[in-house]
């Protein structure tokens, strides 16, 4: 049954790739290859959203413990993982050649630059260099197009946050992918505080006072009950950016993703 559902595209010497977490899946799909299996499939569809995975993609289980027996039976041509998720390569490398995408690996590269070089490096392994260059160019083009659009709006400072509960926000800053995209768009990140090695910091909602009435971009998905309780919060209601009506919610973008996430972020910003 599974075989019957596999779309035509795969028939043409498409490498069969399995992805152990979402950033690598994003990279693989953006190179025009639909992975045969991705870990935490439902999560990808909720939190990463694009680029879309095909409907017949299989679930590998959790990202912390991708199912080795499923991988073994699938016998993929390559397994792609990403740095920093704590998985040991050994068991996967025994099943198929393992490629590790080195985003946020602490080597000092900027996330955007790393996303470009890692897209190329993965493409070389998969023989998709042409597509890689296309992705790099189209992302750059999207960003410069967006930059022009945003230039008309004046480019006021903005801050990007995820909200998980009604008292804290995760704010993205230095050494985050979003920071790189903002830089390329000529936009100023209103949040200039310290961030960890993954480019974000979790802080109390009151610290958003620091961004004044800059625009606040909040990433979906926000749990509905959290949204309701944030809107009831007297502090939130009185924040300068909220009183100025400068809060925008944009659809999900994976903050730890690659070029597709960068382009998606830029496009969504332009649509606000």
């Amino acid at each position: 049954m599974l075989v019957a559902q596999i779309p035509v595209a795969r028939a043409a010497n498409m490498p069969r790739v399995a992805c152990l977490e979402w950033a690598s899946a994003e990279l693989v799909v953006s190179l025009g290859i639909q992975p045969v299996a991705v870990a935490d499939l439902k999560g990808y569809r909720d939190w990463v959203v694009a680029p879309r995975l095909s409907d017949d993609c299989l679930d590998l289980g959790s990202r912390g413990e991708p199912n080795l027996e499923v991988l073994l039976k699938l016998n993929p041509d390559m397994i792609v993982s990403a740095h920093g998720y704590g998985l040991e390569g050994g068991p996967f490398a025994k099943i198929a050649p393992l490629h590790t995408v080195a985003l946020y690996d602490g080597t000092g590269g900027t996330p955007y630059g790393q996303a470009e070089s890692e897209t190329l490096r993965l493409a070389e392994r998969l023989g998709r260099e042409t597509q890689a260059h296309e992705v790099i160019e189209s992302t750059a083009a999207t960003i410069s197009r967006t930059k022009k659009m945003l230039a008309d709006q004046g480019g006021s400072p903005l801050a990007v946050v995820s909200m998980f509960d009604d008292r804290h926000v995760r704010v993205y800053g230095r050494s985050s992918l979003f920071q790189d995209v903002l830089d390329r768009l000529g936009l100023i990140n209103a949040w200039t505080g310290e961030t960890g090695s993954w480019g974000f910091s979790t802080m109390g909602i009151e610290e958003l006072v620091a961004i004044g009435n800059a625009r606040l971009i909040s990433l979906d998905p926000i749990p509905p009950h959290v949204k309701i309780r944030i809107e009831q919060s007297t502090l939130w209601k009185s924040l300068p950016c909220v009183r100025a009506g400068n809060v925008t919610t944009i659809p999900p973008v994976w903050p730890f993703g690659g070029l597709a996430a960068a382009a998606r972020f830029a496009t969504l910003l332009a649509q606000t």
């Binding site: 912390g64 073994l72 039976k73 704590g86 998980f164 006072v209 959290v226 009831q232 007297t234």
Partner: protein, 668 residues
Amino acid sequence: MTVMQLTKTTTRRNTGIWLLPLLVGIPAFIAASLTISDLLRLLPTEFWWRAISNADFTDPRQLLYRHAFLPRLAISLLVGAALGLAGTLFQQILRNPLAEPTTIGTNAGASVALTLATLYAPWMLEHGREWVAIAGGTISTLIVFALASGRGFSPIRIIIGGLIVSLTFSSASAFLMAANREYSQELYIWQSGSLIQNGDATAFALTPWLLAGAAAAFLLVRPLQILDLADEGASSLGNNPTLTRMTGLVVAVILSAIATAAVGVISFVALAAPVLTRLAGARTLHQRMIWAPLLGASLLWLTDRVVQILPFLSEIPAGTATAFLGAPLLLLLLPKLRIAPHKNGDASSVFRRRNALPWLLAGLLVLGFFLCLTLAAGRDINGWYWATSDELGYLLPLRAPRVVVALSAGIMLAFAGVLIQRMTGNPMAAPEVLGISGGAALGVLLLFISMASFSRPAMFLAGLAGALVSLLLIAPMGYRKALAPERLLLSGVAVATMASAASAIVLASGDPRLGILLAWLSGSTYTATTDDAIIAGIITVILVGIAPLTARWLEILPLGIAAARGVGLGANRVRIILLVLIATSTAASTLIIGPLSFVGLMAPHMARVLGFQRALPQLAAAGLLGGIMLMLADWAGRMLIFPWQIPAGLLAALVGGPYFVVLMRTRR
């Protein structure tokens, strides 16, 4: 620091009245100084009143003052007072100096209820968490009481019951959160107990609850004191002891649940405040009811100010900090606490004895059968199948290490359980409550916090170091106090709490390596390699060789120290040797299967229930049972929600917790 020194002087001089104000006043004074210095930086003094009565929110300073600074200050005082009062009630009613919402399972219940609601019924939380938390806290507390009721609420049974319920519930939470990781961020943050406020709504919501609780508590003072005077005679005095106790407990549960709902789990304030006030000379319940809430408020206030000036990237939540400060405090206090001696219910007479040998051989056959099952039966994307010998060729390298480490961990935990239960003469003892598992967990967690990347050997070493440190903490204390079993167990509770506080920090940090940490904490064999299997196997074989040599000691020790001396056994020396054996096997199994799992508790019990009374047969039977249990748990964990996996330790805990509940109930 001040607090600890104070308690020392207190007990030495045993005077009273001036110490209590000092005990409350000094932390409050430091907290107030810190608060005022922060406030001066935030807002000029002339606005301090105006920003309350007539605030101008276009001024961010006034906004922060009115809707973040003041509510947070109020919350720290309110929650601290609520916890101090709840702890006083729990300790009084249960006659247990260590009872508090964390140790008797109330917080774990509130926590798991909120986890379930967040993931599966978020609409319940739209207008606040209070009712969900109260429901969860009530259920878990009832379970703990039901467990302990058999022996007139003996302190140790309450604490052990609370620990078991907490472990079961928190393992359930951990699994739910691991399976819904990105959806659980809210829970990670909430669990860590941050006092950050987003306005004054929570403070205003909490106030009436606290006032009502305080009023109810003070109405209960007299009835409770009468209970204290004459438990047996109380009913003849026209007092209904059960009703009084129940009312008091309801008040205490509600107070702790609303505090938990408001800010998450704040450990140890509810324990420390009443204990310290008692040590500082508050002899009567009436005094404690007044001073403990005050002390709770001042301690939490101070903690919350201190975490704000610590130089960390993300602020350490107050609830986590109290656990870090409170757990050592508990360790220091343990020698000072008088724990009423309880009878070691000699369970052995209850069950018939068996001729062990044939049964053990049969047990080996059963083990063999399950070994085949766990290695050969499985699922893939097409359904269930029994592996052919060809398939086994490539499946075995994946399955065998997991099966072997699960089997080894099960045997080691079971042995450790038999040893500690016989050593302490306490059938409710288990390596899980010794603090060695907690220490190993703590070591690994600190590695996570301090290092950007980590490897498996580093994890192993960190875990081993943690286990050894907690062993070193326990051993001298035990040496001084002739290894009093209760203290040994309770120090384990303290270490376990510190470990869970450390894990709360990592979880709240949103570190993307969470997944692997959660997997280990919940007892997964996923990362087991062939090398791990070989090492685990060797340690197990060595242990199986050594443990039987202690059989004679194990027969004599449960009879008591006098009996041991009588036959010329140096009780301390023997106990220390046993302690090292227990620690080694617990540490090794913790590194494999995480700090959770009740195998060390269950297997020795089941062995005895099945009739294996003497030390050697009990060791053998418990080893077989423990091994089979974890092996099956690992297999079921791989099968049940395929292709996702449930960690073996967690599954064993989820089955073992209820098993233990039934066991405690039936063994009155």
